[in-house]
């Protein structure tokens, strides 16, 4: 089930919340927690019952491992077994075919592919459980009872596309009786955040996806301006899509008085790629820092080891995003850029001191992030040089019009009819205007503070009411074109 679906909004949320708070009202806290676990499992396995078996297998394996640690002295060994179990599941479901394809390619073998369908959210709940098992092995986490553990893994707002939550961030909140009672303040803040996320997803990200998808599927037909706009479309689409999901997850948690960690903090305001990673998918960065970078020695073992550790972390980050060389190259490229930023730390900091210098740093980071997005989005390694060739050809052949026309959607129907009357055969200028507006809105939103900053203040004016209601209405009627969240596929 997706957040952007009728069943989730009109059946699932009302049902979960009403029963949850009703049970809490009668002090049936354990029962209400079990209710949320049950509903979360329904949420996860709605599209395929096989997903239920998978997440149960994943949870049971980890839970048994944690239970054995209570009774056994070989905690580290058990921890290693738990991590291998988790990575084994992840490898099979996410990387098996990728591995076989590469083995076949390198050794000329003919091993058959399994064609395993990637289960949604597997990367997120696997990493969450790895963090728990590692903490358990290090003696930093208690053994939770079944209900608390199941709540930690399956809590529906963060199950499919994060944020990656640590057990000690979530379990104490489930146990806190103060959080069990309905609060209009939290509900309204949460619902408004959910609405803004939904609107970001269906009214902007899904429309920006149209020129981006078309552009990457037809690279040969692009010219330089079209390639630039396709690159920006995808960059904004990915940010709006993923941050929208995070907004919705945070909002849903808040409706239930559960605070989930922030996953985005205006990443496109960053002045360096390093800063970008402190603002983009923050919980993945935190996970990799704590469970990979620090154990490897972090920055404590000299500059060379630091650079190497950084590269390892970003190699893994790329691989986490998908089983393809494009993702690995993307992650590694970020690792290289961050290493270079570290080497040039002093002159870059000097540059930062003046306003112009600060702007130049922001622009440089923005350009680098966008260029590397091409690597992230490309359908194959071969497409990457082709795209850059078009981008840096400095030739314009009018391909922008074709790209702009891909934004065609029902909202444009009436304006287009009017444009046909007023502008005759030049009516298609409407597409260019609309596309420009979309890019401009995307750019402004990327520069703005996150929605959770706005809703966190909890001051909603009367003027905001019709705007929010209209956004919610337009989002709801747009659900008839369901497009899945990009990050649920990672």
């Amino acid at each position: 089930m997706y957040f952007n679906s009728y069943i989730f909004i009109f059946l699932f949320i009302p049902l979960v919340l009403s029963v949850y708070f009703l049970l809490n009202r009668h002090h049936k806290y354990r029962l209400s927690q079990a209710w949320v676990v049950g509903m979360s499992l329904w949420f996860y396995s709605y599209s395929s019952p096989g997903l239920f078996l998978l997440i149960m297998a994943s949870m049971i394996g980890n839970y048994v491992c944690s239970a054995l640690m209570e009774r056994c002295r070989h905690r580290r060994l058990l921890g290693a077994a738990g991590v291998i179990y988790d990575l084994g599941l992840l490898f099979y479901f996410k990387y098996f075919d990728f591995f076989i394809t590469n083995v076949n390619g390198i050794f000329g073998a003919d091993w058959p592919l399994k064609h395993v369908i990637l289960p949604m959210g597997i990367s997120f709940y696997t990493f969450q459980q790895i963090s728990y098992i590692v903490d358990r092995a290090a003696g930093k986490a208690p053994h939770y009872d079944v209900l608390d553990y199941a709540s930690f893994v399956t809590f529906f707002p963060q199950l499919v596309a994060g944020p990656i939550v640590r057990h000690d961030e979530l379990v104490p909140q489930f146990r806190d009786e103060q959080r069990k009672h309905f609060s209009w303040e939290n509900f309204s803040k949460g619902f408004v955040l959910f609405t803004l996320g939904l609107a970001k997803k269906v009214l902007l990200a899904d429309i920006l996806a149209l020129p981006a998808d078309y552009g990457f599927a037809n690279i040969a037909s692009l010219d330089a301006p079209a390639a630039l706009l396709v690159m920006l479309s995808y960059s904004f689409q990915l940010y709006l899509d993923f941050s929208a999901y995070s907004d919705m997850a945070l909002g849903l948690g808040q409706m239930m008085n559960i605070r989930l960690p922030v996953n985005f903090d205006s990443p496109y305001r960053s002045h360096s790629v390093k800063e970008f990673w402190n603002r983009w998918h923050i919980t993945l960065g935190a996970f990799l820092t704590e469970y990979v970078y620090f154990p490897l020695g972090g920055s404590r073992k000299g500059k060379f080891r630091k650079a190497l550790n950084t590269l390892v972390v970003f190699f893994l980050s790329g691989m986490w995003h998908g089983a393809a060389w494009t993702y690995i190259l993307w992650g590694t490229s970020h690792g290289i850029i961050i290493t270079l930023e570290d080497l040039l730390k002093k002159p870059l900091e000097k540059l930062e001191k003046s306003r112009i210098g600060s702007f130049v740093r922001w622009l440089g980071a923005f350009i680098l992030i966008n260029l590397t997005m091409v690597i992230f989005r490309a359908d194959s390694l071969g497409d990457i040089p082709l795209f850059f060739e078009k981008l840096f050809s400095f030739r314009a052949s009018g391909a922008v019009k074709e790209i702009a026309m891909q934004t065609d959607n029902s909202f444009l129907f009436i304006p287009l009819q009017l444009a046909k009357r007023l502008l005759g055969e030049h009516f298609d200028v409407m597409y260019l205007l609309y596309f420009s507006a979309l890019i401009a809105v995307g750019a402004v939103l990327c520069r703005c503070r996150e929605a959770w900053v706005y809703t966190g203040k909890g001051r909603f004016s009367k003027k905001a009411l019709p705007v929010l209601a209209l956004l919610f209405f337009l989002s709801i009627v747009s659900l008839s074109k369901v497009v899945v969240f990009l990050y649920s596929n990672f």
Binding site: S183, G458, V477, S480
Partner: protein, 370 residues
């Protein structure tokens, strides 16, 4: 903001969005461009341009006493001439690449809601050998096909319906320029041409071995499809069935020459005639399916199989004029004529070393005066 103010804000928010959603649902219900709830209100003309969304509702809620059944090659036939000649009002029940079971489902549905005087049934050669779908769901939108009121939200709160389908249907209806005979005609804004047709034809690989007409699976599928059709023909003696073999270009036949299926198509056509023509309320006509000009002149095709208005109207005229009525006795001659066309073409293609350009010789051979 206090707890109370937050409560007031949220209640106002829900009231406002609730009102907007109710308004949207009422608006869609009243105009109902997919005929899901009712027929034509407010002077709407029943604009039909999206068969997968509209056929089900149209069969249930519009008025008609004749049906044109078929796949995409039948879809573009203008029904006006049929209506004029037979004194009927024809509704199209069509689907791209239609399975025979889908068409039978449409026909059964039409019989439930209307009394049909005529059924015009375009028989694609491959239609008869498709799998039977039970229940048939091909090309049909579930929330429009079933009677589940809950999934109607997909229709009532549908951005395309609200912002595009209704304004389009209303503007065309109220301009009074709509030709109902051209329903679902997807060729209106397209241009036909030999180059275009050849562009879409990219045969690959070797010519496969000719597939046997004795194959058990093939026979079972063919007979099951014919059983379905026969059941409907026998159950409705009051309805006149006009079956016609649809026309496709030589490029379409070339595909099936290469995949080894063409003899099965001829066999299925012959079996259909032998089985169904025995009924008094059935008439088969070859139409222009094996007319050399209509098959070979690609200047009247948009791609490897879809013909333009001229060829389609020739099809309609063939039904009206009872041009080449087929009987169990002469059906072999008709399929033999198409077989000859195909085999001669393939021979010529081989002689030309796989160069298709000789097809330009046929340009202009279709009689455009009708």
């Amino acid at each position: 903001m206090s707890e109370k103010e937050h409560k007031r804000f949220m209640l106002a928010f829900f009231a406002l969005t609730g009102a907007l959603l109710v308004l949207a649902a009422v608006y869609v219900f009243l105009f109902d461009p997919f005929f899901h709830y009712h027929g034509l209100w407010f002077g709407m003309q029943g604009i039909q341009n999206k068969e997968e969304f509209q056929v089900n509702g149209a069969l249930e809620h519009l008025d008609y006493d004749a049906l044109l059944l078929g796949a995409s090659v039948t879809m573009n036939i203008n029904t006006n001439e049929l209506d004029e000649h037979f004194g009927c009002h024809t509704q199209k029940a069509v689907a791209s690449g239609a399975y025979n079971s889908t068409l039978c489902y449409y026909l059964e549905k039409a019989f439930r809601y209307q009394k049909l005087d005529h059924v015009f049934w375009g028989l694609d050669p491959d239609q008869l050998i498709y799998e039977i779908e039970d229940p048939p769901t091909q090309d049909q939108i579930l929330y429009l096909r079933d009677k589940n009121p809950f999934n109607d939200v997909n229709y009532l709160w549908n951005v395309d319906v609200i912002f595009e389908e209704i304004p389009y249907a209303a503007s065309v209806s109220w301009k009074k320029g709509y030709d109902p005979g051209s329903a679902y005609d997807f060729t209106v804004y397209m241009e036909a041409g030999i180059d275009k047709a050849l562009e879409t034809h990219t045969p690959e690989g070797e010519v496969k071995e000719l597939r046997s007409v004795e194959g058990e699976n093939y026979r079972n599928r063919r007979d099951a499809n014919l059983d379905n059709m026969e059941r409907l023909v026998a159950a409705h003696p009051e309805t006149q069935f006009h079956f016609f073999f649809t026309v496709s270009s030589i490029l379409w036949w070339d595909i099936h020459y290469r995949d080894g299926n063409y003899e099965r198509y001829f066999d299925a056509q012959e079996a259909a005639v032998k089985r169904l023509a025995a009924y008094d309320n059935v008439e088969f006509c070859t139409g222009v399916f094996n007319d050399e000009a209509c098959v070979m002149d690609l200047s009247h095709y948009f791609d490897y199989c879809h013909a333009d208005r001229v060829v389609n109207q020739r099809q309609a005229r063939a039904i009206i004029d009872r041009e080449r009525v087929v009987t169990p006795e002469n059906v072999g001659e008709e399929t033999e004529r198409m077989r000859r066309l195909l085999l001669d073409f393939e021979e010529r293609l081989e002689r030309e070393g796989g160069d298709w350009s000789f097809l330009y010789e046929y340009a202009g051979s279709v009689d455009t005066d009708g």
